[in-house]
């Protein structure tokens, strides 16, 4: 940055005025295209996203509030909710720590194998969750690599909560790191170096300088990570063993209830599903708020300044507007 600031500002200004002119001309010519595209998008969102979501809630409440409540307090459902919360409570903090460490290393240091590490972080995105689950079965299952050793010590990983937690950690591994790497790279390491020259220890620098500067990205990553940890089906399903009341998480419970024989069981499936849908909605709201905050912080940092850089460089009317809006 620095010397480029005036240049960057000028660039933004020019681009802004350029694109405004273009889009104005464009909108006159292609009103029809615009409406067609917007309609297609809205139709798609309505049919594939909104409608199913509404239907989940509709089905859940189709037999009335009493049955909804009754389905909720079913001991097996309660157990599933508890297990889901437990797995998330273990895997999210672990991935938070891993994500911080990995993004810190990637953004602030140069080392051999950095590109490989970045690729590796994305592995869980590339692998089918079922395969991920199978990997753990192959490692820790009775016939697996460590199976005999674990069996001898009476440690149960597969078809028990430790295996399910491991599978969840694997699946949610990239979320925090993926969010943090670009934020940390954009921040650079000068602020941290400044803290060091002012006498701060590494830990204090992290706590007072690094963490606050990435907080929105961090929270964002944690929310996504949490949503996935609670919602994961495939990988967890493979290692769970589906023991009712013991190794069922909410998504597994939904699946089991839905395939159950009775009609009330189908309703119960939608009741549990509605909880997951609610989680999704909360996640989306939080995500939107955070994105807005992050963008605002970023915009403020970007245009910072300027009575003595912008005006001087490019005394156009656009710049004056930017400068005014700062005051």
């Amino acid at each position: 940055m620095g010397a480029e600031v005036p240049g960057v500002m000028a660039g933004i200004v020019t681009r802004k005025s350029g694109s405004t002119a273009k889009s104005q001309r464009g909108s006159e010519e292609s009103t029809f295209t615009k409406w067609v595209l917007v309609s297609i998008a809205l139709l798609f969102v309505g049919v594939f996203l909104l409608l199913p979501l509404i239907n989940v809630f509709y089905q859940a409440f189709s037999k009335g509030w009493a049955l909804y409540k009754e389905s909720l307090i079913d001991p097996n459902t309660i157990a599933a909710i508890k297990l889901t919360l437990f797995i998330a409570a273990v895997s999210v903090p672990l991935n938070l720590i891993f994500g911080l460490a990995a993004s810190w290393a990637i953004a602030k240091f140069e080392f051999r194998g950095k590109a490989f590490l970045i690729t590796l972080i994305d592995l869980p995105f590339a692998v089918s969750p079922v395969v991920a689950g199978l990997m753990f079965v192959v490692l820790f299952g009775r016939e697996g690599f460590f199976g005999e050793w674990l069996d001898a010590r009476d440690i149960k990983i597969i078809f028990a909560w430790p295996g399910m937690t491991l599978a969840t950690i694997f699946i949610t591994f990239p979320f925090v790191a993926r969010e943090l790497i670009p934020v940390m790279q954009a921040t650079g390491s000068e602020q941290e170096q400044a803290a060091l020259t002012l006498g701060a220890s590494g830990w204090k620098t992290f706590w007072f300088v690094t963490l606050p500067s990435v907080k929105w990205g961090l929270i964002y990553g944690v929310i996504l990570c949490n949503a996935r940890a609670m919602g994961e089906f495939g990988a967890v399903s493979v290692v769970s063993g589906h023991i009712e009341g013991i190794t069922d998480t909410m998504p597994l419970r939904v699946d089991k209830l839905f395939h159950g024989a009775s009609e009330s069981s189908a309703v119960a499936a939608f009741v549990v599903a509605s909880l997951l849908a609610l989680l999704a909605l909360i996640t989306l709201v939080l995500k939107t708020i955070l994105e807005w905050k992050q963008e605002r912080d970023h915009a403020l940092a970007q245009r910072a300044a300027p009575d003595d850089t912008v005006d001087y460089d490019q005394p156009s009317s656009d710049t004056t507007i930017v400068a005014k809006s700062l005051q």
């Binding site: 940055m1 620095g2 010397a3 600031v5 005036p6 000068e190 602020q191 170096q193 400044a194 803290a195 060091l196 020259t197 002012l198 006498g199 701060a200 220890s201 204090k204 007072f208 300088v209 606050p212 500067s213 912080d297 403020l300 940092a301 245009r303 910072a304 300044a305 300027p306 009575d307 003595d308 850089t309 001087y312 460089d313 700062l326």
Partner: protein, 366 residues
């Protein structure tokens, strides 16, 4: 001695960024580390701060060897090129950060911050965040933050690089005043020779990882230790001559070079060493005045010889008027002083070959 740098070398892998650099800075001096970009000067500054470790050599601050001290223990104030203010903290918190880390009492912190903000003309901005400040204000906050816990030396990396030309001029004058008031030993990095000349007591010239010269602005301008310095500091006319029996020639120009062996030689002279007359017969060389550039009270003129050689000269507005010069006019000129920069038998030589009666001041020369 405030800062002593002894034969430091820094290698990044196979690349030698700094090669055997050594200099010392007295208490209270304001010194510029000057050189082209990528020449290693910032690396030297960062090694003094403790942000980089030298591959070999010693660094002493106030007589104490600091090689093994961490950056936190060196008690230096460092101002980063882009200021590196803490974005999530107010001006007050930025300046107070180092004091809080050093566990000062709250009342003492408040008093010290107030004192600094007053000194740096930042009063009333305590609650602002960095993004709410102008470039100049940010730089002053960065300096206030660096000065807060009374460092033994203040180090600045390209302090004026991130602001535009107009503000830069104000900041330079302001840094000189601040240094005068505080008298803290200050070392700053710049690639702008004019800035270094104007602001500092002494200049350390670093290029290609090596130290080329250290001296006062006047020293490095008038007594450049080699061709690089001579050409880097200020404007210089450089001519490659063919030498035969003590006389060097190029086109219709000739120079007395007693004792220089036959072959190639390179000479240089400052624009102010060119003396011009409107009378075609007065001086040795003849040329046409091609262009006049107005630079405030000074003028730069470009002379073109018949052979096409271009010579740059400088004079005051008054002299220009007195001589009745104008573009396109035939003139004659002489070179009052030149320097032998290189010749076949010695690569680089700073010898002064002719002298002039009244040496011009530096301000005129640049």
């Amino acid at each position: 001695m405030s800062i002593e740098v002894k034969n430091i070398t820094k290698k990044f892998g196979d690349v030698t960024a700094v090669n055997d650099v050594g200099f010392s800075i007295q208490d209270g001096e304001l010194v510029a580390l000057l050189g082209p970009s990528g020449g290693g000067k910032t690396t030297v500054l960062r090694m003094i701060a403790g942000l980089e470790m030298p591959t070999s050599g010693d660094i002493l601050i106030r007589g104490q060897r600091v090689n093994d001290l961490s950056v936190q223990q060196r008690n230096i104030g460092f101002v980063f090129q882009n200021y590196a203010l803490f974005k999530n903290m107010t001006v007050f918190k930025n300046v107070a950060f180092g004091l809080k880390i050093k566990k000062w009492k709250r009342a003492d912190i408040e008093a010290r911050v107030a004192e600094l903000l007053e000194l740096l003309e930042l009063k009333g901005l305590e609650k602002r965040y960095p993004h709410q400040l102008s470039g100049g204000q940010r730089q002053r906050v960065a300096i206030a933050r660096a000065l807060a816990s009374k460092p033994s030396v203040l180090l600045l990396d390209e302090p004026f690089g991130a602001v535009d030309a107009k503000i830069r001029q104000e900041l330079r004058e302001w840094l000189v005043r601040l240094h005068h008031d505080l008298n803290v030993t200050t070392l700053f990095v710049t690639h702008d020779q004019e800035e270094a000349m104007e602001v500092s007591n002494r200049i350390v010239i670093i290029a290609r990882g090596r130290m080329e010269q250290i001296g006062t602005p006047r020293d490095v301008y008038e007594q450049p230790s080699n061709e690089f310095v001579a050409r880097f500091i200020g404007v210089m006319n450089v001519l490659d001559l063919e030498v035969r029996s003590g006389v060097g020639r190029i086109g219709e120009m000739h120079f007395q070079l007693p004792g220089v062996v036959d072959g190639q030689a390179r000479i240089g002279f400052r624009p102010y060493a060119v003396q011009i007359s409107g009378d075609r017969g007065q001086y040795t060389f003849r040329a046409t005045l091609r262009h006049t550039f107005f630079l405030g009270i000074m003028l730069r003129v470009e002379l073109e010889l018949d052979s096409g050689l271009l010579i740059r000269a400088r004079m005051t507005k008054e002299d220009y008027a007195r001589l009745g010069l104008q573009d396109g006019q035939p003139v004659s000129f002489q070179i009052r002083q030149f320097r032998l920069l290189a010749h076949d038998s010695a690569a680089l030589g700073p010898e002064l070959l002719t002298t002039y009666d009244t040496p011009p001041t530096i301000a005129e020369g640049i």
